[in-house]
């Protein structure tokens, strides 16, 4: 049987000093996935790092709508950086050819 590591949302909120509603809002915005078992909200281990990152933004006084916009932009930045790296490598092929 496959097992998963979970942390309760309450523990997370306590440790990071954030209100419980913040996690609800992130979940509603589709920014994190949570598991609900026996009416208790759990955060899967795979979501923890992402949630910590979003919490960092929240602690900079950025609201959930702002966090959502930033997340989309960061995803785009990541894709552009990835494309740029790939194009640089391709460019190297031609540069080596002309040397």
């Amino acid at each position: 049987m496959k097992t998963a590591n979970l942390i309760t949302a309450s523990d997370f909120c306590l440790y990071h000093n954030v209100e419980h509603n913040f996690i609800n809002l992130l979940q509603e915005a589709g920014l994190v996935e949570v598991s609900i078992i026996n009416q208790t909200i759990f955060i899967p281990e795979k979501e923890l790092q992402k949630l910590e990152k979003l919490t960092n933004l929240h602690q900079l006084d950025i609201n959930v709508a702002g966090i959502e916009a930033i997340t989309h932009l960061l995803n785009q930045v990541e894709k552009i950086q990835e494309d740029m790296r790939s194009l640089r490598n391709r460019l190297r092929l031609y540069e080596n050819e002309t040397e």
Partner: protein
């Protein structure tokens, strides 16, 4: 060790209120936070400076001490010690034996993210329980193309510690992977930073790489190009037999499916190997061969 103007760091003046400090810090932190500036070492450095300035200016005790001594911070501890000695022993007008002492060995407090100036003045990570994430570390790893043909493990020494990492097959030049929690230790039980490893892949083969595809030229003798046949082609990890169609033209490109590089983080998926035929015209012909070519040209 130079004096650091924390007010300047936060674009404030000395008269700034607590609210001004908080607002200035948050505003600049939104600009330079590492999560908002991926792969930007300069922003990361600036964020550390902001944290340090905020640590001092938002703590009334630290701010008072900083304001009191300002650029004379190097003598601050000594002045205080002397003042204490004079208070305790009013009759003692003796020397200044306390000068130069009193600075704490900051490293023992684990305040690795703070400047030497901060450590000298405040002695490490600070007395408050503000949690700070540890510093992110950046490292470089140089590999050859052949090294990246298979997933393997490597041991790296980062910050005096050995870390065994898994290097997925197919990693590309310039790619960065993050090892969570292997950066600098957090301050006041804050989480540890992350380790970013940037890969530099040197091509030690005769193949050209574009993503997971490989490209190479293959010499083909004229007779096989004209009549067809079978030749052996080298791949990254071995050799394969390739059938040549009759009347193959110079510069023809063929694809050997699945004979390229492994696709990054996709098990058992491979790119393709492209061969471009470079038909070789025979040289040093014998008289007989010349005659045969002449006959051919007339036919």
């Amino acid at each position: 060790m130079a004096f650091i103007d924390y007010y300047k760091t936060l674009s404030l003046t000395k008269t700034a209120s607590d609210k001004d400090i908080k607002n200035a810090y948050r505003k600049l932190a939104r600009k330079y936070h590492p999560d908002l500036n991926p792969d930007n070492a300069e922003a990361n450095k600036r964020f550390q400076e902001l944290n340090e300035a905020n640590e001092v200016l938002s703590d009334p005790e630290k701010r008072k001490k900083y304001d009191k001594y300002g650029e004379n911070w190097q003598h601050g501890e000594a002045y205080e010690q002397q003042a204490r000695q004079q208070q305790n022993r009013p009759g003692n007008y003796g020397g200044n034996g306390g000068f130069g002492g009193g600075f704490t060995d900051a490293e023992s407090f684990g305040g690795g993210d703070f400047s030497d100036f901060f450590k000298s003045m405040f002695g490490g990570g600070g007395s408050r329980q503000t949690k700070y994430r540890g510093q992110d570390y950046n490292a470089e790893l140089h590999l050859t193309l052949l090294d990246t043909a298979e997933t393997h493990k490597r041991t790296l020494t980062v910050g005096g510690k050995n870390i065994r990492i898994n290097i997925p097959a197919g990693i590309e030049n310039g790619q960065t992977i993050k090892i969570s929690g292997h950066g600098g230790a957090g301050v006041n039980n804050g989480p540890a930073g992350d380790l970013y490893i940037k890969f530099f892949i040197a091509n030690d083969t005769r193949f050209k790489r574009d993503g997971s595809n490989l490209y190479t030229n293959l010499k083909l003798d004229l007779y096989t190009a004209v009549l067809g046949g079978e030749i052996t082609a080298e791949t990254l990890t071995g050799k394969v037999k390739v059938k040549i169609k009759p009347e193959t033209q110079n510069g023809t490109k063929v694809k050997l499916k699945g004979k390229g590089m492994p696709v990054y983080k996709k098990e058992n998926e491979f790119g393709d190997l492209y061969l471009t035929y470079d038909v070789q015209v025979p040289v040093n012909l014998t008289e007989k061969q010349k005659q045969l070519f002449e006959e051919l040209s007339k036919s």
